[in-house]
């Protein structure tokens, strides 16, 4: 049945060896062409390449001086990375100039500003908002696509703190729970945060090799079929890593690591516990270096207008709003009059839209100003606060 492609339909006999070899050679090429045409006609797959490589600190970083495009049915934008691996059009001196205020932003692709131009990214809009409120502050965006909280902590120690920020902002998203387990950089041992893995560089070696070839770089920015295959492969690998690390954690601590917060027995090694401990560590590192610490919640935008936040579901029992400085756009996103607004792009990888970035920047600016998280004071903040309440 399967082999009938190698047979003559009328005689039922096998083709000659040469013809069979030709079919075997041409079939994969035909399948690839068919797949690419199919994707373009029926799927309209978003092309969201990520230019990341391995850093000396054992985690991923943006490829310095890279520039690449991201396209979907809704966007066509360019990502530019400076020589320090930050999404910015200029480099920043390590030594903070006298009198300068600095904010370090740590996040994944949401804060990296995927699917929006830099002018519409969270960092850029936050910087503008603060400048408008007479609180000029340069923002260094250390975000890298795929990061979780564990990587923020590693990144803080190796990349962020040398820049002497006055405020550190952590993105908080539902995927952090999973990413922190997958990366296995930290685990909990009787409730204590322990560094377990030296590095987490998924598929970076392969990617680095492939990136040397111009055809591969062309492919990742232009082939929809490749994009689909890469996404599926990435998801599968992550799923396997999640299973592996969950089992590993369970075997090392059978009483916890279930990831199921509804269990009757209290666990101290669940993904929620790990996330909480990592956030505590982030705040501790910030405070030890004279920086304030702010969490910015990015709700899940899969099914608008039914947004939900990790604060209200998985992390509900930890009461993060009471224990951390926190900004969340949930109140704005879920207002009935905003139900038709588009806060997330739906045709790409569900990143924040321009409007979404603007709202998140607004609430973050409002939190920074109202809680006086920056050393510079005395500014008139009324503009920002008004803008936020108008949303």
């Amino acid at each position: 049945m399967i082999v009938d492609i190698f047979k003559n339909t009328t005689s039922g006999r096998f083709h000659s060896p040469g013809k069979i070899a030709l079919i075997l050679l041409c079939a994969p090429i035909y399948i690839l062409i068919f797949g690419e045409i199919f994707m373009r006609l029926f799927a309209g797959v978003a092309l969201m390449p990520r230019y990341v490589t391995g850093g000396d600190d054992g985690i991923r970083r943006n490829i310095p001086n890279s520039a690449y495009s991201q396209t979907s049915q809704e966007v066509d934008i360019e990502i530019r990375v400076n020589s320090q691996g930050l999404r910015a059009d200029r480099d920043f001196p390590l030594q903070k100039p006298e009198g300068t205020c600095r904010i370090a932003v740590l996040g994944d692709s949401f804060f990296m500003g995927y699917e929006v131009d830099i002018e519409n990214s969270f960092s850029y809009l936050l910087e503008s908002k603060l400048a408008d409120a007479n609180q000029p502050c340069e923002i260094l965006n250390f975000s890298v696509s795929g990061f979780g909280t564990a990587e923020y902590i590693v990144s803080m120690e190796s990349r962020v703190l040398p820049f002497d920020p006055d405020l550190v902002i952590f993105e908080l998203h539902q995927t952090d729970l999973r990413e922190n387990v997958i990366s296995n950089l930290f685990t909990l041992d009787d409730g204590q945060l322990v560094r377990t893995g030296n590095n987490y560089l998924p598929a970076i070696a392969v990617r680095d090799k492939l990136m040397q070839y111009a055809i591969y770089r062309w492919l990742i920015e232009h082939s929809q079929l490749y994009s689909v295959i890469r996404e599926h492969a990435g998801k599968t690998v992550k799923q396997l890593l999640l299973v592996k690390n969950t089992v590993k954690n369970y075997l090392s601590n059978p009483s916890g690591a279930t990831g199921n917060s509804t269990d009757t027995a209290p666990t101290q090694n669940s993904p929620e516990d790990l996330l909480h401990a990592l956030l505590e560590r982030g705040r501790q590192l910030s405070n030890e270096n004279n920086a304030e610490f702010l969490l910015v919640d990015i709700p899940n935008g899969f099914d608008p207008p039914n947004y939900y936040s990790v604060l209200d579901i998985e992390m509900k029992d930890y009461d993060l709003p009471a224990n951390f400085h926190l900004a969340s756009p949930m109140n704005v996103f879920t207002r009935p009059e905003n139900s038709k607004k588009k806060y997330y792009y739906q045709k790409g990888h569900l990143h924040l839209s321009i409007e979404g970035n603007r709202v998140v920047a607004d609430v973050a600016a409002q939190a920074i100003l109202s809680k006086s998280l920056l050393a510079v004071t005395g500014a008139d903040h009324s503009d920002v606060e008004r803008a936020s309440t108008e949303d």
């Binding site: 049945m1 399967i2 009938d4 492609i5 339909t9 399948i31 068919f34 797949g35 199919f38 994707m39 029926f42 799927a43 797959v45 689909v228 599926h232 799923q239 899969f302 099914d303």
Partner: protein
């Protein structure tokens, strides 16, 4: 009607327990389960009994992944019909058989509830009471004459199976409706409503077990003395939660002979599964977004949007259910079993009788054989036949769910069936015409009946009577026809399906792929494969029929 139907619909559609991924065929969790299962299954190919035991254990694990407590219901139904089947054949139940059945139920329930016995001890207590009641029934039946004994066991099967349905599926519906009706008359009825989750698949396996005992009672088959095989047949996981409702006459004998496992069966089963997955995960789930939007707020939609929403649901429900059936048949085929075809191009029907010969065939034939004929069928002449048709469809509607919209849908289908019968449309269509007129007549009658089917689905899907009225009003209000934004999406998913169905009709075969050239066949495979890879809806949409 004075009854708040919207709340009833909400009970059926919203107040359900979430189904875990294992019972959803198109999830990685199920693939992992099936990979382990099938490896063991193939390994036991030479040992029929061990293989049957594996099917039973695998099926129970599959069901327990949703809720292990409700496994007790399947076991109770199995135990009842095992004994009732033997009794309905006129046999005396031996002590050995009775003890074996009691042990199966008590030990099985104990194992199923073992981990959660502290919270679900009531279930185990109910099983103990049930076994006690069974012992009394056995004692009573022993003294009966053969004919009375047969009738007695048949009645017991009906009481237990329909009783399970009544308690777990319909109790809240009727209790709430009665309370609402009474409060409308100024009476305050208070009782504790049993907010029980609807056990997944209960409507399917209770009908399946009932047919086993009824067929024995009607001398259409002999009962089995092998409890394990009967239990495996009732709990057979490919079709346990959403059919097809397999008659024991077809499926049960397949447990008693070594199954044929060949490369051809495995590949064709895998392809049937892939086709079902394409219908479910690609077409149905993507169309569900458009349908859900339309039914959520029909008052804010344009007429064009409402029509698109209705078309989307018409194809969603077909692809959701027939996709599941295809997946079930594909899995069973890989295992060497043959399940019945459950859908045969229903949207190409010209009349309701053609439609019900092609839609959910296992249920419509069940209703025909055990309800319609039981009511007298067409033996009583015109009016009685119409009454029987109407009642059968009405109860068929209620089978789909405990909500007034389903009752109304059943009444609507019954009325359409009766009107077509009064007008002798089937006889008119049977009269031969020249090919051109034949084609025109078929096209027109098909279009008319497709329209009537869509109206039926509107009643079926509506979130209550108010929602139905608003939607219906909006459809024909001709409120701004400009909004056709979802048209491309709807067409993108429907057109490939319609093309395939035209080919199925042309070749008069559902699996026609071997009648076309290898080139076309492999391109079809690639289309389905790439669709599943790239177009599978990423959210979680359960099978619609899991609610029934």
């Amino acid at each position: 009607m004075g009854i708040d139907a919207s709340s009833d619909a909400a009970v059926s559609l919203n107040k359900k327990t979430r189904v875990l991924p294992l019972v959803l065929f198109h999830t990685s969790t199920f693939f992992l389960f099936f990979a382990i299962f099938i490896a063991l299954y193939f390994g036991l190919h030479k040992f029929l009994t061990a293989q049957n035991l594996l099917v039973l254990v695998g099926s129970y694990i599959f069901y327990a992944a949703w809720d292990e407590r409700f496994l007790v219901l399947i076991m109770a139904s199995t135990a009842t019909d095992y004994i009732a089947g033997l009794g309905a054949a006129g046999r005396q139940i031996s002590r050995r058989v009775a003890l074996k059945t009691a042990a199966f139920l008590l030990i099985g329930s104990g194992v199923a509830l073992g981990a959660t016995i502290a919270e679900s001890w009531q279930f185990f207590a109910a099983v103990v009471v049930f076994v006690g009641a069974g012992a009394l029934a056995l004692r009573h039946a022993t003294g009966l004459e053969e004919a009375s004994r047969r009738k007695f066991w048949m009645t017991i099967s009906l009481i237990v199976n329909l009783g399970l349905l009544a308690v777990f599926k319909y109790f809240n519906f009727f209790a709430d409706s009665l309370a609402t009706l009474a409060s409308g008359a100024g009476l305050e009825l208070t009782w504790t409503t049993l907010y029980i989750a609807l056990p997944v698949g209960i409507s399917f396996y209770t009908f399946q077990t009932l047919s086993y005992t009824i067929d024995i009672y009607r001398d259409r088959m002999k009962p089995t003395e092998k409890l394990m095989e009967l239990a495996a047949y009732i709990a057979f996981f490919p079709q346990l939660v959403a059919g097809p409702i397999e008659r024991a006459r077809n499926l049960l004998p397949q447990f008693f002979k070594r199954r044929e496992i060949t490369f051809e069966r495995i590949t064709s089963g895998a392809m049937l599964f892939a086709w079902g997955m394409y219908k479910k995960a690609v077409i149905a789930d993507n169309l569900s977004i458009i349908a859900n939007d339309a039914f959520a707020s029909p008052d804010t939609m344009t007429s064009a949007g409402l029509w698109l929403g209705l078309i989307a649901f018409t194809f969603q429900i077909y692809c959701d259910f027939s996709g599941y059936s295809d997946m079930a048949r594909g899995i069973a085929r890989i295992m060497g079993f043959d399940l019945m075809v459950n859908f045969r191009l229903p949207y190409f029907s010209r009349t309701p009788s053609e439609f019900w010969r092609g839609w959910h065939i296992s249920l419509s034939s069940w209703l025909r054989d055990y309800l319609y004929i039981g009511l007298g069928g067409n033996r009583g002449g015109g009016l009685l036949t119409y009454r029987n048709l109407f009642l059968t469809m009405l109860l068929g509607g209620l089978w789909h769910g405990a909500a007034w919209t389903f009752v109304l849908w059943g009444a609507y289908q019954g009325s359409v069936l009766v009107v077509y019968r009064i007008a002798h449309i089937d006889q008119w269509l049977a009269r031969p015409l020249s090919p051109v007129f034949e084609f025109t007549r078929s096209a027109i009658t098909m279009a008319i009946f497709f329209f009537l089917t869509m109206i039926g689905w509107l009643i079926f899907r509506a979130n209550g009577l108010d929602n139905l009225a608003t939607y219906f009003d909006g459809l024909f209000a001709m409120r701004a026809l400009g909004d056709t934004g979802s048209l491309t999406t709807v067409l993108k998913f429907i057109v490939p399906l319609v093309i395939v169905q035209i080919l199925q009709a042309h070749y008069k075969k559902l699996e026609f792929q071997f009648d076309v050239t290898p080139f076309l066949r492999y391109n079809m495979y690639l289309f389905v494969l790439f669709s599943i890879v790239a177009l599978t809806y990423q959210g979680e949409v359960e099978f619609i029929y899991f609610d029934f």
